[in-house]
């Protein structure tokens, strides 16, 4: 419950500071209707299983997000490591293992999956 604007701002600041102090990898899978239609749910499940099996789930978080707009590359995902981020796609179930190896196990910046960088927004 937020009782006023200051409480909300304080909480917002806390959330941002918390993130910056952690070097976890975040995998954001595009899960809007378009992504789901292209198989994003199955891809997300596959990623979670692989990460679980390898025992790295403590430092890798797989999350859903909305659509980045790149319909022609669905299913898409973003891999975030601190301030760095890359967009990948199309990543199908059979690519999941590869993506974990290349972009989470190793920190490759270039691969056949890389389709660009995060878009500039008014909140940057």
């Amino acid at each position: 419950m937020f009782n006023n604007l200051d409480e909300l701002k304080t909480y917002s600041d806390e959330l941002r500071n918390k993130k910056e102090s952690c070097d976890c990898v975040e995998v954001l899978v595009g899960m809007s209707s378009c992504g789901i239609a292209a198989g994003a749910k199955e891809v997300m499940k596959a990623l979670q299983e692989i990460i679980e099996q390898r025992g790295i789930s403590g430092c890798v978080k797989v999350k859903q997000t909305g659509c980045v707009g790149m319909c022609y590359n669905e299913p898409t995902m973003e891999i975030k490591r601190g301030d760095e981020s890359i967009l990948l796609g199309p990543v199908n179930v059979e690519d999941a293992e590869n993506v974990v190896d290349m972009h989470i196990g190793n920190e490759l910046k270039i691969s056949k999956y890389v389709i660009g960088n995060k878009f500039k927004t008014c909140l940057d």
Partner: protein, 492 residues
Amino acid sequence: MIEQYRIVLRNCGVIDPDSLDDYIKQYGYQALGKTLAEMTPADVVAEIEGAGLRGRGGGGFPTGFKWKIAAQQKSDTKFVVCNADEGDPGAFMDRSVIEGDPHSIIEAMAIAGYAIGASMGYVYVRAEYPLAIERLNRAIDKAKEKGLLGDNILGSDFSFDLEIKFGAGAFVCGEETSLIHSIEGYRGEPTTKPPFPAVEGLFGKPTIVNNVETFANVPAIILKGKDWFRSIGTESSPGTKVFALAGKINNTGLIEVPMGTTINQIIFEIGGGIPNGKKAKAIQTGGPSGGCIPVKYFDTAIDYESLKALESMMGSGGMIVLDEDTCIVDTAKFYLDFTVDESCGKCTPCRIGNKRLLELLEKVTNGTADENTLNDIQSLSQVIKDTSLCGLGQTSPNPVLSTLKFFPEEYKEHIVDKKCSAFVCKELYQYVINDSCVGCTLCSKKCPVSCIEGEVKGVHIIVQDDCIKCGKCYEVCKFNSVDLVPGGLSNV
């Protein structure tokens, strides 16, 4: 190289739409908090008006002005309505915003409620968008739990509640008066304006209706200020526009660019150009109310005024790319066909006029048009525009008029030469087998109606009267012996 800049889509693909924390981390609900703690309702209206925000649902009406009219009305009850009916063929901007960032709409509607003095809002969402509805519902619940929606928001004395209404599944329900009647439980049919909804809307009370994308801009404007917003885009159309790129383009999808970006920049720099080395012919914007802009105007900087000057309109943001293989008459027919299907039937010019207009276009595409047909098309279009009751009918001839203006030679080719250079209009071309045929018999085996005759190792021949023009023979022949040629009108 032009880059995308995202205001409306700022959180789409960035946050988990089901996480309120994620939204708050992105300064979520701070715009609402700021308006409640630091601004009067009049300040909010002035900020939106000063920013020059215009309606993104198609018309480009100044949002602040609409809010001001509603705010000035003396009434104990007022309403805020979000139009998420999104009926244009090929458009999915609004769906993406709600699915990817539902809290931004909730926050914006509460800000609008505070500005005009409303305590209740409705989001009218297409029933065909189940995931959007699900995420919006969850977001509303979470916002209420945390005191960001409902009674005494953020400890203030402002209360605002939201309810979701499902669209009745007709394109015309996106028209604001129709949408209001649909929420009231009546048939989704338009009524005349005035009275405008801002004066007399939902349940007869002052109501603002705004599009999803319009609302998504609001929290950003409040947080960053009107001057910041005005610094993006053009003088008459500040801010950005989201487009859904579709059709003959490599990078189909959603993009957001500052107003004033040129069509060339969108198609070739962001959209990656036309597939298969084809040439672009035109873009269609504004959906069934818009028109086709030919390639020679692709250096136009896009805003509300420039598109209007080119006989099209901004519309909600569908941008369909047509390549050289597109028949422009067939394209106009496609949109008119849509309108005829979606006309609610309340008024005669739209119900019957559009049907007759479609028949005239069919005469052009099937080769039965004559020298009077174009005049008939022109004058009927004008009557439909002048006399229809709502925006649907008033704009329905636009795809026809714009293509007629920019591609007159293509209409004439159909009418005079009985020819469709794009080989789209079936009645105006035929398949013939040339002398290079080696008589392998493959085509005759594959022809679904068995209308290809000939001996093994002899030149084959197509019995034109029976051919259904499926193109199978053209596809399977390994010797380039089947030609696609103009003509063939006689055997239809």
